[in-house]
């Protein structure tokens, strides 16, 4: 345990330090790129019939008359104090808007990752199982089909199949009308349980199945293929031959010896995939009317709402860095070779 902690703590500290640097770089890039867009934030935050003098006054108030570097410093100092500015479109604090929508997206992305992981591992095992048989081309083709369809197409397909044709699952929002949403943590699945409402928990879960399945299924084939090739590599290792010589069954060798080692690169991949998956929520949230960060971002882009775009961009970055840190720590936990001697 002590060995484990001495391995993980420096790793986490190192990752946090690196993350801070990355965040600074990303925030500066984001700030500069958005300032290059032909959008006048001052003019857009004023009513249509504002005079040029009023817009100029607003520009000064927003610090937009300052050099770009100084503008960035002003913005950064406000962000460090938790102030992401006010939305041009909603005319209210951006931090509040992000805080209200982030839990929904995290919940959706985590469930989607869980589905992607389950499908990916099951599919990878099956692909490995059928290697060298007549079913191998079929398995390859299936994974390529899954890989080539983007998540929004899955989303539309699931709505038509499970929502409209079979009428099995809801596909709008997070909860059916008739339920009063408990607001405790913002994470609906947790809140419904904390409120002692298992019926509402099931209803919320039903609402999450299709969007998370659409996201998860689109990301599962990469996991399948990486797991399959990892298993093929692992099966070349000496200890697999020795296990066979010891008379262990193929099933036991796969589950108890090969899979554990083959999963390590898969886990690493899932960490990277999570970033893409989190980004994939943008379209899925719009299609499923899911009130998360993605939906907010799409609105912000449509309305050129720069303060929201900046804040959501940074939030995405923080979440991805956090998940990658967690995955790195998990990697150390699962792989004793990486621990400090």
């Amino acid at each position: 345990m002590v060995k484990l902690m001495t391995s993980i703590l420096p790793l986490i500290t190192r990752r946090i330090l690196v993350s801070v640097v990355i965040l600074f770089i990303v925030s500066a890039l984001l700030f500069c790129i958005l300032r290059l867009l032909p959008v006048d934030s001052a003019a857009m935050s004023m009513p249509p019939n504002a005079t040029l003098a009023e817009i100029e006054a607003k520009r000064r108030e927003m610090g937009l008359d300052q050099p770009l570097f100084r503008q960035y410093l002003i913005w950064l100092s406000q962000v460090l104090h938790g102030d992401f500015g006010a939305s041009i479109h909603f005319r209210r604090g951006v931090a509040g808007l992000v805080a209200a929508t982030l839990p929904a997206t995290i919940e959706l992305a985590l469930l989607a990752m869980l589905i992607a992981g389950a499908l990916g591992i099951a599919g990878g095992l099956w692909m490995f199982h059928v290697r060298g048989t007549r079913r191998e081309p079929l398995a390859d083709m299936a994974s390529i089909v899954l890989l080539s369809l983007p998540e929004f197409l899955w989303g539309l397909f699931f709505i038509l199949l499970f929502g409209v044709a079979l009428e099995l699952l809801p596909f709008t929002g997070r909860l059916s009308s008739g339920f009063e949403r408990p607001v405790i943590t913002g994470f609906l699945l947790i809140d419904t349980l904390l409120a002692g409402r298992p019926d509402m928990f099931v209803n919320a879960l039903k609402h999450m199945i299709l969007p998370s399945l659409a996201l998860g299924i689109a990301f599962s084939p990469t996991i399948m293929r990486v797991l399959r090739s990892s298993l093929l590599d692992v099966y070349q290792e000496e200890y697999i031959h020795q296990a066979r010589l010891r008379g262990l069954s193929e099933r036991r060798i796969l589950i108890h010896h090969a899979l554990k080692n083959a999963l390590l690169p898969t886990l690493s991949l899932m960490g990277v995939q999570f970033g893409f998956l989190f980004g994939g929520t943008l379209l899925i949230e719009v299609i499923y009317s899911y009130p998360g960060l993605g939906n907010l971002m799409v609105d912000a882009v449509r309305n050129a709402d720069l303060p929201i775009i900046q804040a959501v961009g940074l939030t995405y970055c923080v979440v991805v860095l956090f998940i990658n840190t967690v995955v790195d720590a998990a990697y150390v936990i699962l792989n004793p070779k990486l621990r400090v001697a």
Binding site: A43, T101, F171, T172, S289
Partner: protein, 508 residues
């Protein structure tokens, strides 16, 4: 131990599913007392004076009351204000308020709230869109708890119309001062027929009937708005029964959904115009080119191609049934006339006039496709238009900086139907909506802004509508439509301006 846990887990799951089924049953049992509406956009702010958004009016009108209202034919009718009297010079307006209105928190509505809404908040410098619509108000004199006199610094002939228009909702002074704007937006209090009980940004709005409402009680107890931005998802939601009514589905879907046994689908014309906002300079400085551009557009073909023929072609910037509309005037579609007009200025298909055309993509149905079709129609007569996409949110910024091109495809909503808010706003060179800055037409518009006599004003606008089109100052195209798909046994009142109000709904 493991088995026990498993059993417990299974029992819990069973209970949950049973619970969910029970709730489902309860929900269907109370279905006749509730309505779920699939709505394309969220409200921008629960401070109803803060942001103008035409699509949000059908939601805001359920929670807040306006001083005046409109009936389904758009005639002004009393609401919180029972009597109003605009002075002949348009410089003041006396109003009389109801005495039996309470806000949702129990506060009584008085003339103090009226003054606070239309003067005090604006003078305090709060960031409100109503600060623009009511900027002419210089004082509101309260003569009794139910009587007040609005005084303007210049004639305000459309003040009564504005009392029933965007953002003009009376808010409770004491409550708003106590909570502040942020607190009010989190827990809004109005005097409308419904109270807000749950709101989740970009997702859901749940309203419950205000049992203490001063007016007639709505039939439906609970109205839920599911915010569904994607038109295909709205179609799927109404088809699968997840919502009872939805709007703005693609026109082609209306024909298909009409055939569903439990659904009714309609295309309703509304007081929204689709037009080309034109400049009076650059490649459009020449009136021949502007008139040719208008003659060359086959509006009926556009309507047929993009709106199933349901959008009426317009010759003036007003919709049928509104006071400024000219039913006996038609601007002719004629390729020959277009070519002849261009020839007068030395242009032809071989030597085309060069202009730019801007359009939004996705702001209203088929906007970009309409622009492309117009581009092709123009090409045939000798106008070569370079098409560019602009964001709707940037329209005012571009117009203010004179950066709009010669023509911009635009959609303009006017729930009042009043001609000032059609041609008056769209052609007033001093307003941010108008791309036209020419004073030949502009002077006539400015003059009409000071005419308080209703009859004279309407006559003036009817004449202006024709003059403006014949001068090539505007190119009206189509009357916009709203598509409505609903369960067959759900009834609602059809308003000429497209409002879909939950308090008029009921199950048959």
């Amino acid at each position: 131990m493991i088995e026990l846990d498993r059993r417990t887990a299974l029992q819990l799951l069973g209970l949950s599913v049973a619970g969910s089924t029970l709730v489902g049953d309860a929900a269907s049992a109370q279905a006749k007392d509730s309505v779920t509406i699939g709505w394309p956009s969220d409200v921008l702010s629960w401070d109803p004076n803060q942001r103008f958004a035409p699509d949000a009016q059908s939601i805001l009108k359920l929670v807040f009351d306006q001083p005046l209202d409109q009936n389904e034919k758009l005639e002004l009718i009393p609401k919180l204000v029972t009597k109003w009297d605009l002075a002949p010079d348009g410089m003041s307006m006396a109003i009389e308020l109801r005495s039996d209105v309470t806000f949702h928190n129990g506060d009584k509505m008085t003339a103090e709230d009226f003054k606070y809404t239309f003067l005090d908040r604006i003078k305090k410098g709060e960031k409100l869109d109503t600060a623009n619509s009511w900027k002419k108000v210089k004082a509101i004199e309260i003569t009794s708890p139910t009587k007040a006199l609005m005084q303007f610094d210049s004639p305000a002939p459309t003040a009564p119309q504005w009392l029933a228009f965007l953002g003009s909702y009376i808010v409770p002074k004491d409550y708003l001062e106590k909570t502040g704007v942020d607190g009010f937006r989190d827990k809004p209090v109005g005097s409308g027929p419904y109270k807000l009980v749950d709101y989740q940004l970009n997702s859901r709005i749940v309203l419950e009937r205000n049992e203490a409402y001063w007016g007639s009680k709505p039939k439906v107890k609970r109205v839920t708005f599911d915010i569904i931005k994607d038109p295909s998802a709205r179609v799927a939601a109404v088809q699968s029964g997840q919502v009872d009514l939805t709007i703005n589905v693609p026109v082609r879907e209306v024909e298909r959904l009409k055939k569903e046994p439990n659904l009714a689908a309609e295309i309703n014309p509304i007081t929204r115009v689709i037009l080309l906002q034109v400049r009076n300079d650059l490649g459009f400085a020449d009136p021949n080119v502007r008139l040719a551009a208008h003659h060359a557009i086959d509006k009926a073909a556009l309507s047929k191609a993009f709106y199933g023929g349901a959008a009426a072609p317009l010759s003036v910037v007003a919709t049928p049934g509104t006071p400024g509309y000219l039913s006996d005037y038609k601007f002719e579609y004629s390729v020959d006339k277009a070519k002849a007009a261009l020839a007068k200025s030395g242009f032809s298909p071989e030597k085309p006039a060069q202009i730019k055309l801007a359009a939004t993509n996705g702001h209203f149905p088929s906007d970009y496709d309409i622009a492309r079709a117009i581009q092709q129609m123009w090409k045939k007569v000798g106008i070569e238009a370079e098409l560019e996409t602009i964001e709707y949110a940037k329209y005012f910024e571009l117009n203010r900086g004179a950066k709009l091109p010669e023509a911009t495809l635009y959609s303009w909503d006017n729930a009042t139907g009043d001609p000032e808010i059609f041609a008056g706003y769209l052609l007033n060179p001093k307003m941010p909506f108008s791309a036209w800055k020419g004073m030949d037409v502009g002077a006539k518009v400015l003059e009409l802004f000071n005419v308080a006599d209703y009859k004279k004003r309407i006559e003036g606008y009817r004449a202006l509508n024709k003059t403006a089109v014949e001068a090539g100052a505007t190119i009206p195209l189509l009357q916009s439509v709203v598509t409505v798909v609903r369960k067959k046994n759900l009834t609602y009142t059809k308003y000429a301006n497209g409002w879909i109000l939950g308090n008029t709904m009921g199950w048959s």
